[in-house]
Subunit: 284 residues, 2 copies
């Protein structure tokens, strides 16, 4: 847990999706690994922000001298669970030059003409970056499954295809962190209601969100199957209780910090003769 | 100047490249439009950060309901002038979802096989976004001219091609802000020296930076020609004194705020029946 003194217990282990996990057994109001309140959470998030920004700069610096490592954070959740807040409040602390964010929408006609991994393959982060997928290839086994957007055998095929795809990314130097933000059905009603009540939030509301909400249980089941089939040692899923936004942000921030600390990054050595360049500079 | 009370005079007008501008006449140590020091500058930047973030959210919200407007900030400068600092400290305050950053490096073989505008055309920001070009199509008339990377008649052709390209972007809803960060030759020596002196900055140093530094006067002249040929009413150039980093950041932040305030953005109206959706939500 390194420099983030506010964690009482490492949340990485507490949040990792265990085999056979049932979402009904995970308390969306929980805050595993930390005591405290919303106020403490905000203070902790600021501390973590500096740590994360420093580590990302190291990762970026190393990549300039050939290090191939990078991070891919996959964010999945029911509507209003707080993906956007993670991007804004966790990724927002990192130098924009170090972040590659892709928000995946309903596939276009062209995208539908290709394998489901085509569009995500093009969006994977380069060396030194933290890539963030706001929704991802998992939509193709979540809404894809719930709405039967493909034949059952194609949905089945996709789990293995995803594992193969992710293995390739890991082999190429990517640390993959897959996060499901877990809110309760009641909390979603409250949040969607808030969007309807505030004129400055109307743009965030989409009537289709209620259509999906009506399939809540199907989605929960589709997530459980996805965890079962694609939570691998090299690309694990984390289920992050998200009824408390402060907790979810802090937890995802920690997962990123943890991954970066595991890399044991150091400033890269100069690939030029420093004294020689000093002399050239003085003469210029 | 709206809500940014710290400006004594609107810097937009003060910084706009006037016809016939000579860089030797612009003091790189200056801070036009504002009194104060580095400390005041940091406080002001924080105030401006919230204003900028709020305005960008409005722009983004409007784009979700069909508004086509967007911003393109073009950053050009001699090495070490602070482009990266602008991205980190000015753009860093904006929700990452609202920023589309592209850093243009030495063109690849594939890029060289196309017209010079090919790669930039693919990187222009979508509606609702602030696009940032860290270097840009202007490299093709800057290093392109200084290093004679193309025949003189091709360099000549490019100024008009740029104006045509930018006119098209403006017609499509883009506000273009072109910034040259202006540092002195002595300040560059100091900054490059600092990179050589600090092991945690070596990765930012490139021996090629000194090669370009040796052509200082040629570059200054190439910038002047670029201003002369491409500073148009719809896509003006701004020359921002940048020996003081705090000033350059504040000035660029203001140019963005100014452009967004000129759009007179309002929260978009809901394109659904709010009461009907409330009833659906309650029943779900």
């Amino acid at each position: 847990m390194g420099r983030e003194s506010f964690w009482k217990e490492d949340p990485s282990e507490l949040l990792r999706a265990a085999p056979g996990l049932r979402l009904a057994d995970v308390d969306p109001d929980g805050h595993p690994g930390i005591h405290g309140s919303k106020h403490d959470g905000a203070t902790a998030l600021k501390l973590g922000a500096d740590i994360l920004a420093d580590l990302q700069e190291l990762l970026f610096a190393d990549s300039r001298l050939g290090d191939r490592r990078r991070i891919l954070l996959v964010l999945q959740a029911m509507d209003s669970a707080g993906k956007g807040g993670i991007v804004k409040h966790v990724m927002g602390s990192v130098d924009p030059q170090g972040v590659a964010l892709t928000a995946f929408k309903k596939p276009t006609e062209e995208e539908l003409g290709h394998d489901f991994l085509w569009r995500v393959s093009k969006a994977v982060p380069g060396p030194g970056l933290i890539g963030v997928f706001d929704r991802s290839h998992y939509e193709d086994v979540l809404i894809g499954r719930v709405r039967q957007l493909a034949p059952p055998e194609e949905i089945e095929r996709r789990y293995d295809a995803i594992n193969g795809f992710e293995r390739g990314l890991v082999a190429g130097g990517t640390t993959i962190i897959k996060v499901m933000l877990h809110i309760s059905r009641d909390e979603q009603r409250k949040r969607l209601g808030d969007r309807l009540d505030r004129a400055d939030k109307h743009w965030k509301f989409n009537p289709g969100d209620i259509d999906e909400r009506e399939r809540w249980d199907d989605y929960q089941r589709a997530y459980e199957v996805a965890f079962e089939r694609t939570s691998t040692p090299e690309a694990p899923w984390y289920v992050v209780p998200a009824n408390h936004k402060w907790y979810a942000r802090l937890a995802v921030q920690h997962l990123l910090i943890d991954a970066l600390e595991a890399m044991q990054l150091e400033w890269p050595k100069a690939d030029f003769d420093v004294d020689e360049q000093r002399a050239r500079l003085a003469a210029s």
